[in-house]
Symmetry: C2
Subunit: 421 residues, 2 copies
């Protein structure tokens, strides 16, 4: 059904009817005779009344979707008590949002069970006043909402040194999610507490047992865009995501988005906590460690077809997600011949800054083994590097900020596997 000319004639944007009917044959056939009708309609259970209306609408019994707890690079299928993160099911998600209960999870001492009525936020240090705020006081302040991604700086670390061919896109890229977050602009709190103009750094500390604390440089961008969030996708934060309040730092390392936030201290230099001197430093090829590599880079991944999926020759739709800590995604290109040639993917509107964007492209697979890859470019012109370029710059000692182009190989049987370019 498919041919080289189909492949070459592929174009970005909606597929023509003729093209789709050809393609659909590859899916098992969309055209049917009227004979199929009665049998088909008989399959639709419209005879019995359904379930009662409810206070909460749960998922279908036919939908199996969950995060997977892991213990670090190569440490999968572990006991939940050993898990350090829980990855979002990117291969099953559609559109751009992640349901709150499936947003990726990362914690250093588990998930605290905090009573919001007793929780406080302390603002102090190089400030005119010292404030202790309740959650209700924060909710009464001017609010904003931003639909942005939060990404663990370890996202992609599975592929730093080698590629396990049995990984899914949930394993390789499941430490990024996009939600609508609602809260109080950091700038409002800074004006409220009267920050000393000489204060150029802020310490954010969490209320979990690990008391994760990070030093954050108070650049104009961060003072404009950071906020203290109490809302997630329309509801209060889930405990795993910082209930009752967390810091949201659009475009920056996930660990800076301090969960269970209890303290903001203002100073004129970084505090050099263990989280920035040991835990979240980047080990370079020469053995030196880079500190404060805070910005999440331009990235993308094909979520379908992706690792451990199986496709059939003929029409297949390629779709995936692209994101950048520097702003909107400007362009995504896809190669279906192992990065020899590239075609533009369709980007779905609206394109929001620092949010995941959905891309898609028609593809007719001729049944021959090949490799598919995506490459994103943000509006500032930053291009997602190929693996060789990233490794040349960073070496293979590093654990964080792996944003190399993701290659999926497809064998003659249509099996999709994780490989290095």
């Amino acid at each position: 059904m498919s041919s080289k000319s189909d492949l070459l004639s592929s174009r970005n944007g909606p597929t023509s009817r003729r093209r789709f009917l050809t393609n659909a044959a590859g899916l098992g056939g969309a055209l049917v005779t009227t004979h199929a009708l009665p049998d088909t309609l008989a399959d639709v259970p419209t005879r019995e009344p359904g379930a009662d209306l409810s206070g909460h609408s749960e998922r279908s019994q036919y939908v199996k979707i969950a995060r997977i707890p892991e213990a670090g690079p190569g440490m999968r299928n572990v006991d939940p008590s050993d898990a350090i993160n829980s990855k979002a099911p990117l291969g099953q998600l559609m559109g751009t949002l992640t349901p709150s209960d499936l947003h990726y999870e990362r914690s250093h001492s588990g998930v605290p069970d905090i009573d919001p009525a007793r929780h406080r936020l302390l603002l102090h240090g190089m400030t005119r006043d010292q404030l202790v705020l309740t959650v209700d006081e924060l909710k009464a302040m001017p609010s904003l909402s931003r639909t942005v991604f939060i990404e663990c700086t370890g996202n992609g670390w599975e592929n730093w040194k080698a590629a396990d061919e049995n990984l899914t896109v949930q394993n390789t890229h499941g430490l990024v999610s996009t939600n609508e977050w609602t809260g109080v602009p950091l700038k409002f709190l800074i004006d409220l507490v009267g920050k000393d103009p000489k204060s150029t750094w802020m310490l954010a500390e969490g209320g979990d047992a690990a008391a994760v604390a990070r030093s954050i440089p108070l650049t104009d961008e961060i003072m404009e865009e950071a906020f203290v969030a109490y809302g997630q996708n329309g509801e209060p934060l889930r405990p795993a995501h910082g209930f009752p309040i967390r810091l949201v730092m659009p475009g920056f390392e996930g660990n800076l988005n301090i969960k269970w936030l209890r303290r903001l201290e203002f100073g004129d230099q970084p505090w050099m906590t263990r989280w920035e001197t040991a835990r979240y430093t980047q080990l370079l090829a020469d053995g030196k460690a880079r500190q404060f590599q805070l910005r999440m880079e331009t990235n993308s991944v094909i979520t379908s077809p992706s690792g451990m999926m199986k496709i059939t020759p003929g029409y297949n739709r390629i779709t995936g997600l692209a994101w950048s800590g520097l702003g909107k995604i400007g362009r995504v290109e896809i190669s279906t011949d192992g990065a020899q040639s590239w075609r533009p993917a369709q980007l779905n509107e609206p394109l929001l800054p620092r949010a995941q964007s959905r891309f898609q492209m028609d593809w007719v697979w001729d049944g021959k083994p090949t490799k598919i890859v995506s490459r994103s470019t943000d509006v500032k012109g930053n291009i997602q590097p190929d693996r060789k370029t990233l490794i040349a710059a960073m070496g293979t000692n590093a654990l964080f900020h792996y944003n190399a182009q993701q290659t999926w190989s497809i064998d003659a049987a249509g099996r999709v596997r994780n490989v290095l370019a």
Copy 2:
């Protein structure tokens, strides 16, 4: 702490520090002495490790949030088996989205439990071809995502004839929600099946026991914007919201967004189903019934403070939601003196077409009884009517499309109540 000059000097947008500290006193005081510190921090449970990471992050035990099933105007606190809708908790939501499990629910024969592998969509009628599509075939087609509201045409019906002062905003306005929906453009399916240019109407039929079916005029706008959705806030539809597929008709009556969609028939005139000849017609003052009043009008409501809440004198933040079936919201004004004078509210970005938009405004309540009201205007210049104007046009026989300005009265004790203007 508050004074007439505070009130008159109130401005749209972020509150100045001096203003907020004055206001905060009305909340119980945000400024604290250092003495409060040790006690406060001792309250933060940072000593024990928290719960294990998980496959799904559930809500906090401290968050009680749910829809309320009702049986129609004035028919509350009914047995779930008698419920015809379940209302979203607008007073507790933040930002603009509604979590999928809290999206308002309306069904005519309960919620069917459909196996997606057996479900089919039939496209037929005045078409070149006849198609029966599987859910997987639909998922392989070009997709779009839209963040839009869906609203039951009965939203607001509690206030058509009289006002029960014990209603919350969930009771009065809980039949509207905003989600990100993902699916296949109707236009693509129309091209695929080869619609006869003479076909100007489409019948959409659901796979529930009631087999709800509506005739939809194929205007250019509808052919451009309608789509068949399989995704909701990033995941497959919930059964209550149409799993595995539903029609999404941005800006039009909720009942046109056919759930459990099983059939699209193309013709050259409406089918005059019972849903458009009896159920969803609008009874006018003269006893005549209006058919096909399909567009949801410009609307808004203050969600806080709102019905059954209690406020204290001094600083209070007014916030709410505005939406229009005709496009983006252009302006929201708020009156805190029973619609005698109006001030512009701050509209939170981004403003998406046919989505709920969040508005907010500072307010210092002087403790005297008053009434607060919101009034929205969309970008096309359509102004939300006051109750007198709506009733003058529609009479009080009607049940649907009630978009009059919502008035909340506040008594000397700070109790907020639902009243007619």
